[in-house]
Symmetry: C2
Subunit: 421 residues, 2 copies
């Protein structure tokens, strides 16, 4: 069934990294930042790597200042949303009406609390609203015994955000500079889709008009070369973090498919589909955090984030992720009939068990980090507390592998810990 | 851990029911209809039972006319939505702005396709939109290779519905007759919630004004007696069906919590949380269909529909559901700190295996149907192709049991089949 996959273990530099830090009894962290699953040309790769690095640094700054995983994922994700190169927050894909509607969610592995927003317009950082919904949930019931919402959509979500002190942001400021609102924003019924549109939907920054035949037509010379394709459709961003206390957290944010129908909500706002984080407890030996990117509907129907998290309780993380991507995604019975299943995941798991528990005076944490994708490429960044800067990497399918049918899987392992006295 | 539970097996009337029908090689069906999880007073019970019966009949009519499970669940759910007594479609709870916003979803066990709408206003039958989204998914990709949406929310969902021929319906027609729009619809920021509101949110039909202190105040004499309480908050409706081909389907619809924040989406529009249907295949011996009702956020965070479906692959259905409700819901780690976990499920599973496969000339299907709830009561209706009318039942917690901490579990079994010559 499996056409091909590549495997690279980035462990040489990180393996056996034991940090001795007397100020903190236990201090470690690990971040993955995906700037999306799609095709990244060499020319765009540099931009994506830069964004990843900045996001990693932002999270590390928080963690170094004493912040926990939840704060770190939020900080990293805001940086990713603020970049005009990613399809999240500022620079998001436009829907059929020429508007930006964002999805975002966040999960805390410690409390297992969750917050999400869908089809949200007019807010610069959707993840901030998801984060705030999560916080409000933790405060307990509202007056009259009402349970606080964990998922808000559309205008109601925007109003909730503003009433909770999150500032509004006009759509114009969130679209990239090349974009200008047309006199005739597209409505679903107006759109006459033609083959030419295939090229159009593949670029991020567009200027559309309706031509004399009532069809979409790009205006200006902002069409980029063919090789820039696809990424605009799928560049969801996601972050997973483990903090010094061993708590995991995950978050994801997306502007959704280009030219999606207004009101369409993708995996980034779907519980169990866009992100998952669960601290170790009872039967679960490992703390796990997962974030996904790709075709929203496929990621929803396969509940890929939660499936990968569940799989990560197996002994061999690499084998488990490989099987999950193959059996629960590419060959999932929930996607029978789909010949092109596009997605990517970043996965982190850690435990204080086994090899990591070296001696009584050293508290050590074994962190395994993996990423896998069926898309042509995926950009990943990661950093530990002891790194002076983030590492980034554009993972690509092996030559000849068919996107949507093959997968790449890569990762590494590191041991972090401190002398406890 | 388990405070108490009741167990009644309604199998006497149905057991060993083998239908000989030469016209159809294989003909059977089973329907459960929940008109909500909440407290049903004796005076209201009659209304709920009537609605359940009509919905069962509607589904049976479809099945007798050759319709499959998907059509039958849709027909039954539309009947439930049209009743002003249920919190779905017409008669839905109002949100903080005095508006109706509905959630609904549907899943087909054969194709595993799924459709959902959230925070949908202005459409009489939300399940019809979910059903249409599911159908469109089955048609494959849209032009330009775009994947059709499976989940739409808010205004965009309403526009999509109308552009697909589903007629609009003004909100006034969906509110029950006692309701009149106030001059000052409530906005989230205006609302000053007081203890008095506890009573107010417990009734379905309300007329609100803001008093001089900026607080909510009921107007008129439409406040119902205390014993009518609670049900208005939680009366989601759901249906599960197995058709003559052995396909299962499930659907759910809800107006959501009374006085919810605009844009709040509950379990009824959440994949894996509101309903689940999966035909038997490979490793799964049983076809299962599940629909849930109760506190939306609790049902989302525990993914109760899918958890129950997974549990139903165990040998002992009753024991499996009991453990799922106890360990995956009441005592779920995802709801740690919640002392009152309100919900209900209807579950159906069937197989052609074991005892049912009696001889070669009789094709038989063993159907097990169960319901369980942690709410004070739940109304259930069920019917087979061979019944002339539906059976209904108000299931209640045992005396002294605490709602939200205890559970009731009941169910039955029946064997259906035909002589194949």
């Amino acid at each position: 069934n499996l056409s091909s996959y590549s495997l690279i273990i980035f462990s040489s530099a990180l393996k056996n990294l034991i940090v001795r830090n007397k100020l903190n009894a236990f201090y470690f962290l690990m971040i993955f930042t995906s700037s999306g699953a799609g095709y990244h040309s060499e020319s765009k790769a540099k931009e994506y790597k830069h964004v990843c690095k900045r996001a990693c640094q932002r999270a590390v700054d928080r963690l170094r200042a004493g912040g926990l995983a939840l704060e770190a994922v939020t900080a990293a994700l805001m940086e990713l949303e603020d970049s005009p190169f990613t399809n999240a927050g500022t620079g998001s894909n436009l829907n059929l009406s020429g508007e930006i509607e964002c999805d975002a969610s966040i999960m805390d592995g410690k409390s297992l609390n969750y917050g999400a927003v869908g089809a949200l317009s007019g807010i610069k950082n959707p993840v901030l609203v998801a984060r705030r919904l999560l916080s409000e949930t933790q405060k307990g019931k509202l007056s009259a015994g009402r349970i606080p919402p964990c998922f808000l959509v559309g205008k109601g979500a925007e109003q909730w955000a503003i009433s909770h002190g999150i500032p509004a942001c006009p759509t114009e400021k969130m679209t990239t500079s090349e974009y200008q609102t047309t006199q005739n924003p597209l409505s679903a019924s107006d759109v006459c889709l033609t083959a030419d549109l295939c090229a159009l939907i593949k670029i991020r920054t567009h200027l559309w008009i309706l031509n004399d035949f009532g069809c979409l037509e790009p205006v200006g010379d902002i069409l980029v070369a063919g090789e820039e394709n696809n990424s605009a459709c799928l560049d969801t961003v996601g972050v997973v973090v483990v903090d010094r206390e061993g708590n995991v957290a995950a978050a994801v944010s997306s502007g959704g498919l280009a030219m999606k129908h207004p009101g369409r909500v993708g995996q980034a706002a779907h519980y169990g589909c866009g992100c998952w984080a669960e601290n170790a407890r009872d039967v679960s030996l490992y703390s796990t955090a997962v974030s996904t990117s790709g075709s929203g509907e496929h990621l929803i129907r396969t509940m890929l984030a939660r499936e990968c998290s569940t799989a990560m309780q197996a002994e061999n993380a690499h084998q488990a992720l490989l099987e999950a991507m193959q059996n629960k995604f590419i060959s999932s019975p929930f996607l029978a009939g789909e010949d092109c299943v596009l997605g990517g995941v970043i996965v982190l798991r850690c435990c204080t068990c086994g090899e990591a528990q070296r001696s009584e005076d050293i508290q050590a944490l074994l962190v395994e980090f993996l990423w896998s994708h069926t898309t042509e490429s995926m950009c990943v960044g990661y950093m530990s507390a002891q790194d002076s800067k983030a590492r980034t990497h554009i993972s690509r399918l092996p030559p000849g592998a068919v996107a949507g049918q093959s997968l790449a899987i890569e990762g590494g392992v590191c041991r972090l810990g401190t002398v406890s006295d």
